[in-house]
Amino acid sequence: MDDLEAFRADTRQWLEANCPSECRGPMENDEDRVWGGRNATFRTPAHQQWMEVMGARGWTAPEWPTEYGGGGLSREQAKVLASEMRRIDAQMPLSSFGIWMLGPALLKFGTEAQKKRFLPEIVRGEIRWCQGYSEPGAGSDLAGLQTRAVDHGDHWIVNGQKVWTSYADKADWIFCLVRTDPDAPKHLGISFVLFDMATPGVSTRPIELISGKSAFCETFFDDVRVEKENLIGELNRGWDVAKNLLAHERTMIGGMGEIAGRPVGQIAADTIGTDDQGRLADTALRARLSDLEIDAAAFRLSMERVGDQVKARQVNPAIASMLKYYGSELNKRRMELVMTAGGSDALEWESDRSQHGQDARDWLRTKANSIEGGTSEVQLNIIAKHLLQLPGA
């Protein structure tokens, strides 16, 4: 038995012993997620226990180095862990912007002291983070941000406003872009800083979306003190840190097209009926659905191919923009067709029958996919410039 198989056996045994039965099986919805943090809530005590044992072992961040609390696993071992967790249908012990977004940036750009201070807490689920990038005046044009940080020796005083801060009202700390040099060209002069959301002067307000309540907030900074030791990367070079982080986010959003379950065409067959050959009676919808199936299959394969190209180092990193663009447009098309298949039933906004308009809310929510994490237009600009080398792009 080779090392990897030994690791698999050990892991299986440990998971069997440590994963509570309450934490196996699919999560019912997003609200069942464990986010950790100072004010963490857990659906059951077992969920807290599951987070804590996994966190202690570093397996909430399996590939991070052990000196920062991570699992220290190799890529192959991490795959084994994931497959063993799938085997017993183990739920994710911890959902965390700290792990998904900030951590990789800290590992790359943080000082030793910063890594030591923040990463172990993140791994153990003791701190919950939010992201302060977008501003009301700077959407696609992220670099046009106006939140000002004025130098006061060992600290800055920050004033400004962020939008689209997911879970700002629940987060403990924020990683945030602020303008530290108002005179520099706009991509320069921006710094990437961390601070506590409990700092005086920070306030938040949830945003209501067209799809209903949301995790997004507006976040206001009114003379907020930020310690200079919490600057990540170089002063005025926060843009490099942010870009690195955004690339992660893009791949995540683009990939959301991957949805299991019954084909939409079969759902439509129930509401619309079929002819004697079993073909959907509505030709126009059937044609659109088969186009969607073809494009969705091709897109899944394209994601797989890009993954393989990345491994083989055959690809320009800007390829993430292609996946983000196509994946989010595909999501939108898919939900339009789900709504068409659902007919008037799916248009009920409050009935129990429609689960309070679940399909309609999902449909509306997908409209943000081509906006958040860089609009489709921005992705097309990036493709034109970096992959096609078109002049002036």
């Binding site: 209501e208 067209i210 509401t271 007919g343 248009l347 509306l364 906006i371």
Partner: protein, 373 residues
């Protein structure tokens, strides 16, 4: 007949636009929605609409209406599409009024048409059953029973059904389709309000052994199909007009937005990619407008190809409005996703209007059959 509005029709349009913009702008919809208004619409507003002659636009003057035609009904529907005003116009003043005008007995007409025209009474037509519009697959039945009929079935997507003063119910009888004019308080009728995604009003109606008299029949027993189709086609053409109004208004607010919003140091309306998409959308809206007006004129002229023209209009206006709201939200960017901006309300309204009385796929099917393929 030129494919433009006459001077009188333009005056009507200005009157409707003016009244709605002043008395029922989008804030009116928001207020009804956010206060969880029990009716989901303003009866006072509707009476004012009646006083202006707009609730009875197609009702003969003898019954207190304005005695106008489909084009004028479409003009009003388009205005309502621009302001997203919840009102009984489509269900009561268009569908129900058309049925009673075409086929109601003197008693039925006298009882209801003046009250519809005055905005005093709200009538609803119950035709849809499943999740998709398919009048040819209707299963609600009316069996002979005593002096009248006994109805059984389930209806859905009945506009304003929760506050209807009378229901017109389509049901299968032995030899065809029959329309019944029924008091919603009749035993065996259950009405569930179903607030829709666009905060407009609809209801599900269950009929369990509902006993009605013979004089509740509209027109002849088994003879309701033609009347029903005429009403549905007027409803579809007016829905096309509302879609054109909503789509065009969504486009206008988007144009205003991209002419003022800056990104990367430029107005986003300066970016050529958005300019071309806007120009394309403008063209599509003009096509939808032409197709809609032509369908309304064809109905007024009683042309044999009016059903074809209506399907073209409903399908085209629907697809175009869909494009308009999708482009609208996208060009607004993040703020377009917030409830605070209006563009999302247009997206919701357009989807409901698109689904109502046959979505673009339904009407594309009619077009294909009419063209013989």
């Amino acid at each position: 007949m030129p494919l433009i509005l006459t001077d009188e029709q333009t005056m009507l349009k200005d009157a409707a636009d003016g009244f709605l913009t002043e008395n029922a702008p989008i804030a009116h919809l928001r207020h009804l929605r956010d206060s969880r208004d029990a009716d989901g619409l303003s009866r006072d507003l509707w009476r004012s609409f009646g006083e202006m002659g707009l609730a009875g636009v197609i009702i003969p003057e003898a019954h207190g209406g304005s005695g106008l035609g489909a084009v004028e009904a479409g003009v009003v529907a388009e205005s309502l599409g621009r302001t997203l005003t919840p009102s009984p116009f489509l269900g009561s003043s268009v569908l129900s009024a058309r049925v009673l005008i075409d086929a109601g007995s003197d008693a039925q007409q006298t009882a209801w048409l003046p009250r519809i025209a005055a905005g005093e009474a709200i009538l609803s037509l119950a035709v849809d059953e499943g999740a998709k519009h398919a009048p040819s697959r209707m299963t609600t039945t009316a069996e002979r029973s005593g002096n009248g009929f006994r109805l059984n079935g389930e209806k859905g997507f009945v506009l304003d059904g929760h506050i209807a003063d009378a229901l017109i119910v389509a049901a299968k009888t032995d030899g065809g389709t029959t329309l019944f004019l029924i008091d919603p308080a009749t035993a065996g009728i259950e009405i569930e309000r179903t607030v829709m995604v666009d905060a407009h009003n609809a209801a599900r109606i269950t009929l369990r052994d509902v006993q009605v008299d013979a004089d509740s029949v509209i027109d002849a027993v088994d003879g309701g199909e033609e009347t029903l189709n005429a009403a549905l086609n007027l409803g579809r053409a007016c829905a096309a007009a509302s879609l054109t109004g909503a789509g065009d208004q969504a486009f206008q607010i988007t144009l205003d937005y991209i002419k003022t919003r800056k990104q990367f140091g430029k107005l986003i309306g300066e970016f050529q990619a958005l300019q071309h998409r806007s120009a394309h959308l403008f063209t599509e809206i003009e096509l939808a407008r032409a197709a809609t007006l032509a369908a309304l004129q064809a109905l007024d002229a009683g042309r044999a190809d009016a059903p074809f023209a209506v399907s073209v209009a409903k399908a085209k206006a629907g697809r175009v409005a869909e494009l308009a709201v999708q482009e609208g939200v996208q060009m607004h960017g993040g703020v377009g996703m917030t409830d605070a901006y209006d563009i999302g309300l247009f997206m919701k309204r357009v989807r409901v209007l698109n689904e109502w009385l046959g979505d673009p796929g339904f009407h594309a099917e009619s077009v294909a059959r009419a063209r013989g393929f």
